[in-house]
Point group: D5
Chain length 103, copies 10
């Protein structure tokens, strides 16, 4: 299931070593999420420390697991938005879109 996730990073000014360590861990973890097909795309809201991510996970419980393990999680203010597949995507994917749902 897909989610749009808005992550506002409020990391305070930390000692250089600690900050570098957290950023490095963050990069490694983000790469791992990409390798597992969980993090599909990440954008930056210009002028801010906020990122918007497109995630695909099993459900909201897995999403919380994934986000709460971010090395910067203690300093993140996060909001998530559940996404339904749009009928157009179903058509493109070659499957029959749900007859039931109203476009």
């Amino acid at each position: 299931m897909e989610f749009l996730v808005r992550q506002e990073n409020n990391l305070p000014q930390l000692p250089t070593d600690e900050a570098a360590q957290i950023k490095s861990a963050e990069r490694t973890y983000a790469q791992e999420l990409r390798d597992r097909g969980i993090l599909k795309r990440l954008w930056r809201i210009p002028g801010t420390r906020t990122a918007v991510g497109w995630y695909e996970v099993e459900d909201a419980t897995e999403l919380h697991d994934v986000l709460s393990n971010l090395p910067t999680f203690p300093w993140q203010s996060i909001t998530v938005e559940a996404l339904a597949t749009h009928p157009q995507e179903q058509v493109l994917a070659g499957s029959n879109p749900s007859k039931a749902a109203k476009e």
Copy 2:
């Protein structure tokens, strides 16, 4: 997966027959959702025509199918909130809560 759904009903004043027919269809459909284990609980916000429902479905796509087939859907203003299982519920259910997620 569980959702909290807020349904504000803006049904206009319709001819008596039409209104009765829509309400009857709505009750039948709600009963069907309960029988299928999708609608777990429904509350009324006092003083309003807004209901809050606790739903359990496969994912957001099934939720949209379910909601867009409500007989009153054309007059509903709906917002949904994705819910993760709380570690406490996992303990109660006898399973091991996720080690990964921060409580």
Copy 3:
């Protein structure tokens, strides 16, 4: 009477011992609320430290007693929403729904 309670936990970084003690007390207290039939269900808003709970108490005064005794109460930002029984629940429970209330 039923309430929907949104509990945003702003617990600061405490010494490990103190944090463990508070969390343990919180778990014990939550279990006690469940045993007394007060806390019916608890969910996690994914990506956050916010929980949503469905409570059943005598009235708003008992609800305040219950919430203000949470070990984490000094760090919680809480909002509550009073819930009326929906006519559909009354039907399911075998009782006659109120004739007076408009569905």
Copy 4:
């Protein structure tokens, strides 16, 4: 249990007869609520068609019954706020305030 109820009246311009009938029914009903001890006090927000009322009812379900039977209910936009008894009121009433609740 006590509630603070905000009632925004959006009654459209109706034929004189119909409007007079609705207003008369509204006054009669409000008087009945006072006689039953349900409507404790009513205020007007100056410059508006909004009233704020202090109600005492059994619970949110009775409150919804009471409000949904207002003759002007179809044109009201209503919000309610659940109220707990303040420890100071308990002292004044001669009873022992709850030991459990934090002031």
Copy 5:
């Protein structure tokens, strides 16, 4: 003139002695406001440190005097709402409601 006053108490964690002294002064002052007929009723918003009060004073200037002398005023975030007498209250009080004002 009547006011609805919302008082959000942000009193920080103070030394036990100081906190006890402030709370005691607050109780004494509140009792004095009741004896003078200024504080008519006080409620607690459940789950919060916010109180809602119904005050009757000469005007907004006296209200500010009254509130700014609360022992906890430096830690309060307060909003006030001016209330007009509702025609229904005037009827109940045996006086003729204003002919001029539109109900």
Copy 6:
């Protein structure tokens, strides 16, 4: 007592005669409020049909009487804000500012 009143005028397009009559009545009434010392000052929010007025009346009940008799009242969306006298104004007026109120 003084109030700041924000009056958003939503007068629809009426027949020329009716519109002229309403506007003329509005001007006459505003002049009367000035003569009675009630309307102290009126401003226009640029680019809008909203006016901001500084009123001085006995209390909120008189303010509601005054505003609800505006010829355009049925089409106005109004909000009011109660104002306390600032200590500086009291000094200027030659009276002793309240000793009690905190500046």
Copy 7:
């Protein structure tokens, strides 16, 4: 340049023929936008008639051209959010991320 576009569809109830024609034109146009590489992904907000789209265009002027030509544009309420490329995407794409921008 990438944009996140939120499209709330307020299409009124139209005659069946007209509605079918608009929906068909909408599908054709959406397919054209995909073929041109402009519309990268479309999601449905569950329970609503709102879609969220990920677009890639030359700039905001081209985005306005693209959106204002939607057959349903007259009934859409649209908000757009400009997106900067996140340094992580630049790494993945094999290019050197900007040295200048702070992550």
Copy 8:
């Protein structure tokens, strides 16, 4: 004095002739405002019928005159924001920036 003006155009669907006449008058008036040095720059918020304009006028009263004479004024929802000259602009213009104002 400079203003930032946000103009949301809610022009309904009018007969073709009437719409063309209004648009033509709008263009002529906008050109006149440019010639008089009042309208400095106009932008379109992508995906919307909202324009943002940079105006330079004598004061807010002249701004209201200018905006209320827009042929589309009856269908515009407008908000304005007063702008002070930034010290940097004063430096660029070769004049001495105000000594008094804090940058």
Copy 9:
């Protein structure tokens, strides 16, 4: 040109001497603004440390100069609203109101 200015004072608890010095400077400066005809009127929002002021200055640049020189400026959170002269004020002042502006 006239402005409505909302000044929320967040002055922290300072040493007695320093606080007294700032308050004294503030009073002197406010008196100077009155003598210069800039500060026309000041009100207190009851229950708060917020003041609302009616200012008359040359333009927004002079207003910023005036406000940024308040001794308490570093602790103020300020919002300003530009005001156009209302046609009624122009009539009262004996001048012909603008023919151009729509009332």
Copy 10:
């Protein structure tokens, strides 16, 4: 591409030397942005430490580079708004406005 950028400066009280150094670097950088044709205009919101700027850059990624290199960036709270060229500007510039976009 053009952007409207709102920059709220929350620079804390720093040692005099450090503050002077940051301000000097800020001025130098702003001048550089002007020389490069990126910063077209800067305004001050009166009574605040907020500036509004009109920028022209390649795209949102370059805008983020430009803003995140501001010497005061760590203390800025920034929001940006993407701007499309208005058809009127295209006419003025002598080019044919887009046939496709609806005015």
